[in-house]
Protein backbone atom coordinates (compact mmCIF):
# COMPACT_ATOMS: atom_id res chain seq x y z
CA UNK A 1 0.00 0.00 0.00
CA UNK A 2 2.80 2.32 0.82
CA UNK A 3 4.41 1.65 -2.51
CA UNK A 4 1.17 2.27 -4.23
CA UNK A 5 1.04 5.70 -2.70
CA UNK A 6 4.55 6.43 -3.77
CA UNK A 7 4.03 5.24 -7.26
CA UNK A 8 1.42 7.89 -8.07
CA UNK A 9 3.87 10.85 -7.91
CA UNK A 10 6.02 8.99 -10.50
CA UNK A 11 3.10 9.00 -12.89
CA UNK A 12 2.60 12.63 -12.11
CA UNK A 13 -1.10 12.59 -11.18
CA UNK A 14 -1.95 15.88 -9.43
CA UNK A 15 -3.92 14.47 -6.51
CA UNK A 16 -3.66 16.19 -3.13
CA UNK A 17 -3.13 12.80 -1.73
CA UNK A 18 -0.20 12.27 -3.91
CA UNK A 19 1.23 15.73 -3.19
CA UNK A 20 0.99 15.07 0.48
CA UNK A 21 2.79 11.86 -0.09
CA UNK A 22 5.42 13.56 -2.22
CA UNK A 23 6.32 16.09 0.42
CA UNK A 24 6.46 13.52 3.11
CA UNK A 25 8.35 10.85 1.28
CA UNK A 26 10.45 12.66 -1.22
CA UNK A 27 13.83 11.12 -0.53
CA UNK A 28 12.69 7.58 -0.26
CA UNK A 29 10.68 8.21 -3.44
CA UNK A 30 13.85 9.25 -5.23
CA UNK A 31 15.75 6.28 -3.93
CA UNK A 32 12.94 4.04 -4.95
CA UNK A 33 13.20 5.43 -8.43
CA UNK A 34 16.57 3.81 -8.84
CA UNK A 35 15.34 0.53 -7.55
CA UNK A 36 13.26 -1.59 -9.91
CA UNK A 37 9.66 -1.17 -8.84
CA UNK A 38 9.10 -4.25 -6.82
CA UNK A 39 5.33 -4.21 -6.81
CA UNK A 40 4.70 -4.60 -10.52
CA UNK A 41 7.02 -7.56 -11.01
CA UNK A 42 5.64 -9.46 -8.08
CA UNK A 43 6.53 -13.11 -8.32
CA UNK A 44 9.12 -12.60 -11.01
CA UNK A 45 11.21 -10.20 -8.97
CA UNK A 46 11.10 -12.36 -5.94
CA UNK A 47 12.22 -15.37 -7.92
CA UNK A 48 14.97 -13.26 -9.56
CA UNK A 49 16.17 -12.25 -6.17
CA UNK A 50 16.09 -15.82 -4.92
CA UNK A 51 17.74 -16.96 -8.14
CA UNK A 52 20.65 -14.62 -7.70
CA UNK A 53 20.78 -15.57 -4.07
CA UNK A 54 20.77 -19.22 -5.03
CA UNK A 55 23.55 -18.63 -7.48
CA UNK A 56 25.50 -16.84 -4.85
CA UNK A 57 24.99 -19.69 -2.44
CA UNK A 58 25.93 -22.19 -5.10
CA UNK A 59 29.15 -20.41 -5.95
CA UNK A 60 29.94 -20.04 -2.27
CA UNK A 61 29.28 -23.73 -1.74
CA UNK A 62 31.50 -24.54 -4.65
CA UNK A 63 34.41 -22.57 -3.26
CA UNK A 64 33.84 -24.11 0.15
CA UNK A 65 33.83 -27.59 -1.33
CA UNK A 66 37.00 -26.82 -3.23
CA UNK A 67 38.69 -25.68 -0.06
CA UNK A 68 37.56 -28.76 1.82
CA UNK A 69 38.71 -31.05 -0.99
CA UNK A 70 42.06 -29.29 -1.09
CA UNK A 71 42.44 -29.71 2.65
CA UNK A 72 41.60 -33.40 2.37
CA UNK A 73 44.16 -33.96 -0.38
CA UNK A 74 46.67 -31.93 1.62
CA UNK A 75 46.15 -34.14 4.65
CA UNK A 76 46.70 -37.31 2.63
CA UNK A 77 49.82 -35.85 1.07
CA UNK A 78 51.09 -34.82 4.49
CA UNK A 79 50.63 -38.31 5.86
CA UNK A 80 52.73 -39.69 3.01
CA UNK A 81 55.37 -37.03 3.43
CA UNK A 82 55.54 -37.64 7.16
CA UNK A 83 57.46 -40.89 6.72
CA UNK A 84 60.68 -39.50 5.24
CA UNK A 85 60.33 -36.30 7.22
CA UNK A 86 60.17 -38.22 10.48
CA UNK A 87 63.13 -40.28 9.45
CA UNK A 88 65.10 -37.11 8.79
CA UNK A 89 64.06 -35.74 12.14
CA UNK A 90 65.13 -38.93 13.87
CA UNK A 91 68.48 -38.85 12.16
CA UNK A 92 69.04 -35.26 13.14
CA UNK A 93 68.17 -35.77 16.77
CA UNK A 94 69.30 -39.37 17.17
CA UNK A 95 65.91 -40.29 18.58
CA UNK A 96 65.06 -43.93 18.99
CA UNK A 97 68.65 -45.01 18.63
CA UNK A 98 68.82 -44.29 14.93
CA UNK A 99 72.21 -43.78 13.40
CA UNK A 100 73.35 -40.19 13.24
CA UNK A 101 74.01 -39.05 9.69
CA UNK A 102 77.60 -39.33 8.61
CA UNK A 103 78.04 -42.93 9.57
CA UNK A 104 79.24 -44.72 6.47
CA UNK A 105 81.74 -47.41 5.70
CA UNK A 106 84.11 -45.15 3.78
CA UNK A 107 84.73 -43.15 6.87
CA UNK A 108 86.94 -45.88 8.24
CA UNK A 109 89.47 -45.24 5.55
CA UNK A 110 89.72 -41.50 6.06
CA UNK A 111 89.11 -40.95 9.74
CA UNK A 112 91.86 -39.57 11.91
CA UNK A 113 92.27 -40.79 15.47
CA UNK A 114 91.68 -38.21 18.16
CA UNK A 115 94.76 -38.98 20.17
CA UNK A 116 94.06 -36.96 23.27
CA UNK A 117 90.74 -38.51 24.17
CA UNK A 118 91.30 -41.90 25.69
CA UNK A 119 88.28 -44.07 26.32
CA UNK A 120 88.03 -47.23 28.31
CA UNK A 121 85.93 -49.94 26.74
CA UNK A 122 84.87 -52.63 29.16
CA UNK A 123 83.51 -55.94 28.04
CA UNK A 124 80.73 -58.00 29.42
CA UNK A 125 79.46 -61.40 28.39
CA UNK A 126 76.17 -63.01 29.24
CA UNK A 127 74.30 -66.08 28.26
CA UNK A 128 70.65 -66.81 28.41
CA UNK A 129 69.62 -69.03 31.28
CA UNK A 130 69.07 -72.08 29.13
CA UNK A 131 72.19 -71.56 27.06
CA UNK A 132 74.92 -73.90 28.17
CA UNK A 133 77.93 -72.29 26.59
CA UNK A 134 80.70 -70.83 28.65
CA UNK A 135 80.99 -67.38 27.22
CA UNK A 136 83.38 -64.77 28.51
CA UNK A 137 85.54 -61.87 27.29
CA UNK A 138 89.25 -62.42 26.96
CA UNK A 139 90.13 -58.94 28.15
CA UNK A 140 88.34 -57.01 30.82
CA UNK A 141 88.96 -53.64 29.25
CA UNK A 142 90.79 -51.94 26.44
CA UNK A 143 91.86 -48.34 26.02
CA UNK A 144 91.08 -46.81 22.65
CA UNK A 145 90.74 -43.35 21.15
CA UNK A 146 87.96 -42.26 18.81
CA UNK A 147 88.81 -42.81 15.19
CA UNK A 148 91.02 -45.79 15.80
CA UNK A 149 89.96 -49.32 14.92
CA UNK A 150 90.31 -51.85 17.70
CA UNK A 151 90.11 -55.59 18.07
CA UNK A 152 88.74 -57.46 21.06
CA UNK A 153 88.15 -61.12 21.77
CA UNK A 154 85.56 -63.23 23.46
CA UNK A 155 85.81 -66.90 24.05
CA UNK A 156 83.01 -69.42 23.92
CA UNK A 157 83.12 -73.07 24.89
CA UNK A 158 80.53 -75.75 24.44
CA UNK A 159 80.97 -78.09 27.42
CA UNK A 160 78.12 -80.40 26.49
CA UNK A 161 78.08 -83.53 24.34
CA UNK A 162 75.88 -82.19 21.63
CA UNK A 163 76.33 -79.33 19.15
CA UNK A 164 74.66 -76.12 20.17
CA UNK A 165 73.84 -73.24 17.89
CA UNK A 166 74.00 -69.83 19.44
CA UNK A 167 73.02 -66.41 18.27
CA UNK A 168 73.96 -63.21 19.99
CA UNK A 169 73.05 -59.62 20.32
CA UNK A 170 74.79 -56.74 22.00
CA UNK A 171 74.16 -53.67 24.04
CA UNK A 172 76.20 -50.55 24.63
CA UNK A 173 76.00 -48.37 27.71
CA UNK A 174 75.80 -45.41 28.11
CA UNK A 175 72.92 -45.24 25.70
CA UNK A 176 73.98 -42.02 23.95
CA UNK A 177 77.46 -43.29 23.33
CA UNK A 178 76.00 -46.30 21.57
CA UNK A 179 75.39 -44.35 18.40
CA UNK A 180 79.11 -43.66 18.08
CA UNK A 181 80.04 -47.26 18.60
CA UNK A 182 80.46 -48.79 15.17
CA UNK A 183 81.21 -52.40 14.63
CA UNK A 184 83.05 -53.24 11.46
CA UNK A 185 82.77 -56.95 11.99
CA UNK A 186 81.72 -59.14 14.85
CA UNK A 187 80.02 -62.41 15.57
CA UNK A 188 76.56 -61.19 16.37
CA UNK A 189 73.20 -61.71 14.71
CA UNK A 190 74.28 -64.83 12.90
CA UNK A 191 74.03 -68.39 14.01
CA UNK A 192 77.26 -69.74 15.36
CA UNK A 193 77.56 -73.45 15.76
CA UNK A 194 79.82 -75.04 18.31
CA UNK A 195 80.52 -78.73 18.24
CA UNK A 196 80.71 -80.72 21.46
CA UNK A 197 83.60 -79.64 23.66
CA UNK A 198 84.72 -77.06 21.15
CA UNK A 199 86.20 -73.74 22.15
CA UNK A 200 86.56 -70.81 19.79
CA UNK A 201 87.78 -67.25 19.86
CA UNK A 202 85.27 -64.68 18.75
CA UNK A 203 86.66 -61.35 17.64
CA UNK A 204 84.96 -58.00 17.53
CA UNK A 205 86.44 -55.36 15.26
CA UNK A 206 85.10 -51.90 16.04
CA UNK A 207 85.84 -48.22 16.31
CA UNK A 208 84.44 -45.18 18.02
CA UNK A 209 83.33 -42.46 15.64
CA UNK A 210 85.71 -39.47 15.80
CA UNK A 211 82.71 -37.16 16.11
CA UNK A 212 82.35 -38.53 19.62
CA UNK A 213 84.95 -36.04 20.74
CA UNK A 214 82.93 -33.10 19.42
CA UNK A 215 79.64 -34.05 21.01
CA UNK A 216 79.06 -31.95 24.14
CA UNK A 217 76.86 -34.64 25.62
CA UNK A 218 79.78 -37.02 25.56
CA UNK A 219 82.19 -34.67 27.25
CA UNK A 220 82.15 -36.56 30.52
CA UNK A 221 81.89 -40.06 29.12
CA UNK A 222 85.08 -42.00 29.70
CA UNK A 223 83.88 -45.57 29.87
CA UNK A 224 81.81 -47.44 27.39
CA UNK A 225 80.63 -50.94 28.13
CA UNK A 226 80.00 -53.45 25.41
CA UNK A 227 77.82 -56.30 26.50
CA UNK A 228 77.09 -59.42 24.47
CA UNK A 229 74.41 -61.95 25.23
CA UNK A 230 74.17 -65.37 23.66
CA UNK A 231 70.94 -67.22 23.14
CA UNK A 232 70.32 -70.66 21.89
CA UNK A 233 68.99 -70.80 18.36
CA UNK A 234 66.75 -73.48 16.98
CA UNK A 235 67.95 -75.33 13.92
CA UNK A 236 67.08 -73.56 10.71
CA UNK A 237 65.73 -70.47 12.38
CA UNK A 238 66.53 -67.32 10.44
CA UNK A 239 66.38 -64.08 12.35
CA UNK A 240 66.13 -60.79 10.49
CA UNK A 241 68.93 -58.30 10.94
CA UNK A 242 67.89 -55.63 13.39
CA UNK A 243 67.68 -51.95 12.83
CA UNK A 244 66.86 -49.92 9.82
CA UNK A 245 69.74 -49.51 7.48
CA UNK A 246 70.22 -45.93 6.40
CA UNK A 247 73.46 -46.34 4.55
Amino acid sequence: MLFQLLRTPLCGSPAVFSGCVRSLRCTPCRTLLHKPPPQSRGLKTRSKKTRSQEEEWRSRNRTLLTYIAAAGVGMIGLSYAAVPLYRLYCQATGLGGTAVAGHDADQVETMEPVKDRILKITFNADTHASMQWNFRPQQSEIYVVPGETALAFYRAKNPTNKPIIGISTYNVVPYDAGQYFNKIQCFCFEEQRLNPHEEVDMPVFFYIDPEFDEDPRMARVDTITLSYTFFEAKEGQKLPLPGYSYS
Binding site: V108, E109, S140, E148, L151, K183, I184, F189, V200
Partner: protein, 95 residues
Protein backbone atom coordinates in the same frame (compact mmCIF):
# COMPACT_ATOMS: atom_id res chain seq x y z
CA UNK B 1 68.97 -55.98 24.74
CA UNK B 2 67.49 -53.16 26.68
CA UNK B 3 65.62 -54.41 29.70
CA UNK B 4 63.99 -51.10 30.56
CA UNK B 5 60.26 -51.50 30.23
CA UNK B 6 59.47 -47.81 30.01
CA UNK B 7 57.78 -47.23 26.69
CA UNK B 8 58.30 -43.85 25.19
CA UNK B 9 61.86 -43.54 26.36
CA UNK B 10 64.68 -44.28 24.00
CA UNK B 11 65.68 -47.89 23.92
CA UNK B 12 68.89 -49.24 22.51
CA UNK B 13 68.63 -50.44 18.95
CA UNK B 14 71.47 -52.75 18.01
CA UNK B 15 72.91 -52.21 14.57
CA UNK B 16 74.21 -54.87 12.28
CA UNK B 17 77.98 -54.79 11.76
CA UNK B 18 79.24 -53.02 8.67
CA UNK B 19 80.96 -55.96 7.13
CA UNK B 20 78.84 -58.71 8.56
CA UNK B 21 79.81 -61.50 10.84
CA UNK B 22 83.17 -63.20 11.33
CA UNK B 23 83.06 -66.89 10.48
CA UNK B 24 84.14 -68.94 13.44
CA UNK B 25 87.73 -70.11 13.53
CA UNK B 26 86.91 -73.72 14.29
CA UNK B 27 90.40 -75.03 13.55
CA UNK B 28 92.28 -72.36 15.45
CA UNK B 29 94.29 -71.34 12.42
CA UNK B 30 94.81 -67.83 13.67
CA UNK B 31 95.11 -68.69 17.32
CA UNK B 32 98.82 -67.84 17.40
CA UNK B 33 98.20 -64.34 16.15
CA UNK B 34 95.47 -63.92 18.69
CA UNK B 35 97.75 -65.06 21.48
CA UNK B 36 100.40 -62.60 20.34
CA UNK B 37 97.84 -59.84 20.33
CA UNK B 38 96.52 -60.70 23.77
CA UNK B 39 100.02 -60.89 25.18
CA UNK B 40 100.79 -57.50 23.70
CA UNK B 41 97.65 -56.08 25.29
CA UNK B 42 98.49 -57.51 28.68
CA UNK B 43 102.04 -56.17 28.49
CA UNK B 44 100.89 -52.70 27.54
CA UNK B 45 98.07 -52.48 30.09
CA UNK B 46 95.42 -52.97 27.45
CA UNK B 47 96.34 -49.98 25.39
CA UNK B 48 95.01 -50.64 21.92
CA UNK B 49 97.20 -48.05 20.25
CA UNK B 50 100.32 -50.07 21.00
CA UNK B 51 99.04 -53.35 19.69
CA UNK B 52 97.66 -52.31 16.35
CA UNK B 53 100.33 -54.14 14.45
CA UNK B 54 99.35 -57.40 16.10
CA UNK B 55 95.69 -56.81 15.38
CA UNK B 56 96.56 -56.12 11.77
CA UNK B 57 98.48 -59.41 11.66
CA UNK B 58 95.52 -61.25 13.09
CA UNK B 59 93.19 -59.84 10.49
CA UNK B 60 95.61 -60.67 7.72
CA UNK B 61 95.79 -64.24 8.98
CA UNK B 62 92.02 -64.39 8.85
CA UNK B 63 91.99 -63.15 5.31
CA UNK B 64 94.56 -65.71 4.24
CA UNK B 65 92.59 -68.57 5.75
CA UNK B 66 89.30 -67.63 4.17
CA UNK B 67 87.91 -66.47 7.49
CA UNK B 68 87.41 -62.92 6.39
CA UNK B 69 86.72 -61.12 3.14
CA UNK B 70 89.94 -59.86 1.62
CA UNK B 71 90.23 -56.11 1.80
CA UNK B 72 93.04 -53.61 1.64
CA UNK B 73 94.15 -52.73 5.12
CA UNK B 74 93.57 -49.03 4.60
CA UNK B 75 89.85 -49.67 4.49
CA UNK B 76 90.05 -51.22 7.93
CA UNK B 77 91.69 -48.17 9.41
CA UNK B 78 95.27 -49.33 9.29
CA UNK B 79 96.58 -46.83 6.81
CA UNK B 80 99.05 -45.47 9.30
CA UNK B 81 100.64 -48.90 9.60
CA UNK B 82 101.07 -49.48 5.90
CA UNK B 83 104.41 -48.63 4.38
CA UNK B 84 103.64 -46.55 1.31
CA UNK B 85 104.55 -48.69 -1.70
CA UNK B 86 106.71 -46.77 -4.20
CA UNK B 87 104.51 -46.60 -7.29
CA UNK B 88 101.42 -48.69 -6.52
CA UNK B 89 99.87 -46.19 -4.13
CA UNK B 90 98.04 -44.34 -6.90
CA UNK B 91 96.26 -47.42 -8.11
CA UNK B 92 95.36 -48.75 -4.67
CA UNK B 93 93.96 -45.75 -2.83
CA UNK B 94 90.50 -45.40 -4.33
CA UNK B 95 88.35 -48.53 -4.86
Amino acid sequence: MSTAMNFGSKSFKPRAPDKGSFPLDHFGECKIFKETFMKCLRDNSFDNAKCRLQSKDYLECRMENQLMAKEPMEKLGFKDLMEPPPSQADGDTKP
